[in-house]
Symmetry: D2
Subunit: 349 residues, 4 copies
């Protein structure tokens, strides 16, 4: 089987490095183009990330000597994963889609556009059909598909798994890792012996993106889910892994036991299709009363699983629980890769 030619937009940053880790050995996709900012174009990947390679392990050998190219020259791949800084993403993503390329974007800029799917394969695989509307709308052969913000993804997967109980209200307080702000990102003087109770635009993203992800698709597009979501976001002294304290109100009666069962038995499209990056299972439910913990549980399912613990009744809403997801794998690069795998399996490219 010939592999699909793949490019990464923004290959040297924190999320770009995760794309490298997930794709350098991928069974379906082949790294073909690494797009970087003009000052890095022309360098090898190893040179460009010299002293800036933050993730575990070393630069994969088959990537180290690839030469970085300028965004203008990106043209020779079938699909592109985008981790561009916000401001440069929009034009380039649209240009590539108009040239027939598939764009899988981790960037916020296109997420809320009405003809752009905002997808989590475990939650709304049927939103892929929005690509047809997008193509017709824009008269293009390619497409742009996005994944939500890192802290939104665990919320949507948990709510989806509990769909049978009809969730109405979701209140979440996050404790987020510093890698979410990239490198250099959060100053150490803000993190040693400290917590910062604010992450710009993060709460708004959780509150709006989750409604679209959990929304329903028809040929008129996406209709937002009827759900109230409230988020309070904090930055904590953790390298990787967003921990979230979630309370949910359901219109159906339920119990902690029923919720645990539903979470344990959750089976979704990527698992059924055995997509290469899909964790098996998608949700891990821990029984220990002091879990999940970032340092111990973030790499569950190779960083793609959502780990849930402390499911119990809530005095105010109905059920409360703790959720952990790896923010730059499950919540960023891995989310885009899983979207790509789903779309390929469904024949969109």
């Amino acid at each position: 089987m010939t592999k699909i030619k793949t490019g990464i937009l923004g290959a040297t940053g924190m999320v770009g490095q995760r794309f490298i880790q997930l794709l350098h050995n991928h069974p379906w996709f082949e790294l073909n183009e690494l797009v970087a900012s003009p000052d890095n174009a022309g360098k090898t990947y190893a040179e460009a990330v010299y002293n800036k390679w933050i993730v575990e392990g070393s630069v994969p050998e088959n990537v180290a000597n690839m030469t970085l190219i300028d965004s203008e020259k990106a043209s020779d791949s079938d699909i592109y994963f985008s981790a561009l800084p916000h401001e440069s993403a929009r034009l380039l993503e649209e240009k590539l889609a108009s040239e027939g390329k598939g764009v899988l974007s981790n960037v916020a800029v296109n997420r809320m556009k009405s003809d752009v799917p905002l997808m989590v394969p475990e939650v709304n695989p049927e939103h892929a059909e929005l690509i047809n509307i997008q193509r017709k709308n824009r008269g293009i052969d390619g497409f742009i598909v996005t994944n939500p913000n890192c802290s939104t993804i665990p919320v949507t997967i948990v709510v989806k798994a509990l769909e049978q109980f009809n969730p109405e209200q979701v209140l979440v307080t996050t404790m987020q890792a510093v890698s979410g702000a990239g490198y250099p990102g959060v100053p150490s003087l803000d993190m040693l012996d400290n917590i910062v109770p604010f992450i710009p635009t993060e709460e708004e993203k959780i509150q709006t993106e989750s409604l679209k992800v959990l929304g329903s698709f028809s040929d008129k597009g996406i209709e937002n889910a009827k759900l109230a979501v409230s988020a309070s976001c904090n930055r904590c002294a953790v390298r990787d892994g967003h921990l979230e304290s979630i309370s949910i109100k359901f219109s159906e009666q339920t119990s902690a036991e029923k919720v645990i069962d539903a979470l344990k038995n959750f089976k979704a499209e990527p698992q059924k299709l055995s997509l290469p990056t899909a964790p098996q299972p998608a949700i891990i439910v821990m029984e220990q009363q002091n879990r999940p913990q970032p340092v111990r549980d973030r790499l569950n399912g190779n960083g793609m699983a959502i780990t849930v613990g402390r499911v119990r009744e809530c005095n105010v809403l109905d059920i409360k629980l703790m959720v952990l997801g790896h923010n730059t794998i499950r919540g960023a690069a891995g989310a885009s890769v899983l979207n790509a795998e789903l779309l390929h399996k469904k024949g969109f490219f």
Copy 2:
């Protein structure tokens, strides 16, 4: 003025050290007896905390050479502050009260007894009258008065300050400092690059103690507040200062602006009475969108103020905000000292 003779039960532990700091120079109270465990009795205070003095600065000079005494010998003071380990507290506190002493306890064991006041002077100063019932019940001249758990106190002060809007539901997720577990307490392997989403009995304490504190007093005793409180407690890599993400539902209509005004204008008994340890104001409201932060704000009001920030509307309940309180000052030793000051001013000893 002759100062009131004062003893500390459990003087060498984390909270005991805070008692030392707050009392060694107190205008009304004079350190007279330091009670320690049998293996420390007979040592000087400086010897006993050699290498275990964890709080800022050094052992005060006028305390360093005081000799620690065994609990059986405690008898020569008018009042006792208690920071004993849970299991040893009950008998000793009862014994001292029966001998005519005033006991101001930070320990959990007596908090929920129906004839024991559970007091936060800014919230329920009128509960002091329960002492009369306690004395009659038990046929004693002394008394036991307790303060709530460290993470409960900020919740109750905020809810009290917003009483006019009639709070009905309170949902809180805490991010708590390691000093709350004492020394040695939380292992560093649990805190470096990590968060632990569980603190034994902590959630139950917030959920039950706050109802008693916010309850109403009559000659029949305390009637719990009609309020639903749900807590989710986490241990974070912070030395001191519990940060809490709180959402509240009111039966009266309100807005972020009104809530901010009410918090800013909150005046309570300890402030009106100018008690020595009372912070002025009791609640500090910060406008910066990334505050309060433990390392920057925990010592506000000498560690006795509650600092609030990020007051905003909540999509699920009505209002959400962030609250910070110093857990071993405002939340423990300082809480007991402020109780003592109030009771002294009111003539209970």
Copy 3:
């Protein structure tokens, strides 16, 4: 090939967990017995480490259901890896050796005995011959072989690699990870925003063990190396990986370039024999001026490589450099396993 039956003494602690990780899938050794303290005997391994599994990933599936046995029952394996607490190690290790077993010990208690090899396979593989003397001395068929303390191993490997320049003095300041103290180990109140400039007995171990490891073997036993070693040991807020600042005086003239070349070209016995756990190369020399760093480099060579950086001239001694080694892999469990591999290859069992 039939695998060698293998037991672990002290299987549930921090180093015991590393033994599990290194041995559960080993090409030559087969996990046969897991020995634990009496209170854990009878439990499955998964039960015993429930909430105490600190290392990355999960308990390996083929180990989770193994039943822990009491030390008295250990008898059915060919070799035993020992990570026992100091006080229980001596008798058990001697008993097993007298019963014909090979004991590979990470424990300090037997290290400095004159007939016990203290081995680092890259440094002194010829010390294995001391086993013959030990067997004759003690009239036993088994043996006890030890590896040095975690912070000593990197020192000895670097000094050995520079043997050609005749090292005379070694001055080392360590910055050591908390995992070296086990779990619960170092309190978080000692590590958040702090460094502790003392680790009991650690400096003595570096100063004495390194002389034995670098000593010469003859049929009279080990003669210590003629080398002055001075150590200053500190505990820092790092989970894994001991970083050491080392200055060395040589009697031969040298330069930073020559030292770098010698380190890069260092080839030792485990590498030549391609032992399964041997890192290739044993020493990694980094050119970046801000490396090695614990979080980025400790897993080099699967945690078995020594990473060196910042090789430069020293104004006081001759050369200074930074060395990093993973303390519970290269410095503990992995050290014992590599010893076992060498001894097996040499036919000692």
Copy 4:
């Protein structure tokens, strides 16, 4: 007494904030001008450091409303404390000195000039006489006096206190706090679970500045001390306080006891003159074997004392010990203020 009019150059940065703390209530000096970068000029101090005030407590009330001025307008003070970024310092410091002002600089740019004193009042108060040479050389009435780098100061004070034993070689490994890099400074991804074994230009500063500070003054200027100093510098996860592991070789015979006595009995000019900022004593010697520790000891002597511990013999040089100094107080702003106090007492302004 009329206070001396005082300006701060670079008032908003980390060291600038420490100048504010030390000077807002100073008995001799009065804050008169706060000089900031052009984008902050015109703002009040409180506005400019809104969200950037990193040090303990709040902006002092009498400073909060002072208006920041541009460097060009600085002219109305008698003396100026300089914490400017390196590149802007040189011209401005020279200009002010030529206008008759006294400049007390914490900046590196002028430190090694042959007619500029590099002073630590406990070590080389006689170097103040170099001001006369500087004035003659440059034909100015003002002066520039500098203090060394934060990590150099503790080294020089300890070596000075041991002068009687004739120190010949000093080997130091530092473990430095992140505040030394200012704000935002060191990224949290470099500090969580990590150590960075490199700080640009830091080792060179210790190695060269200490020789000048410890040098001798004659009318020909400063002659460097005959001393070999070698430094290895590391950045650790500590907010404030540089901890240094130091080994020293003396030409006189000595012992740990003698060294401890000499350190305890060290009396220097600032202590004899009772300068307002001088710590009493300058050096604190701790007996506990696990001290000094940054979080517990950095504020000794209001952050101006040097704390020493673990004095013991060294197998390679003669004596080794641990030294702690607060890097932004004793090592920066406090160092400049103490220089100013000494010079004022000696009549230089």
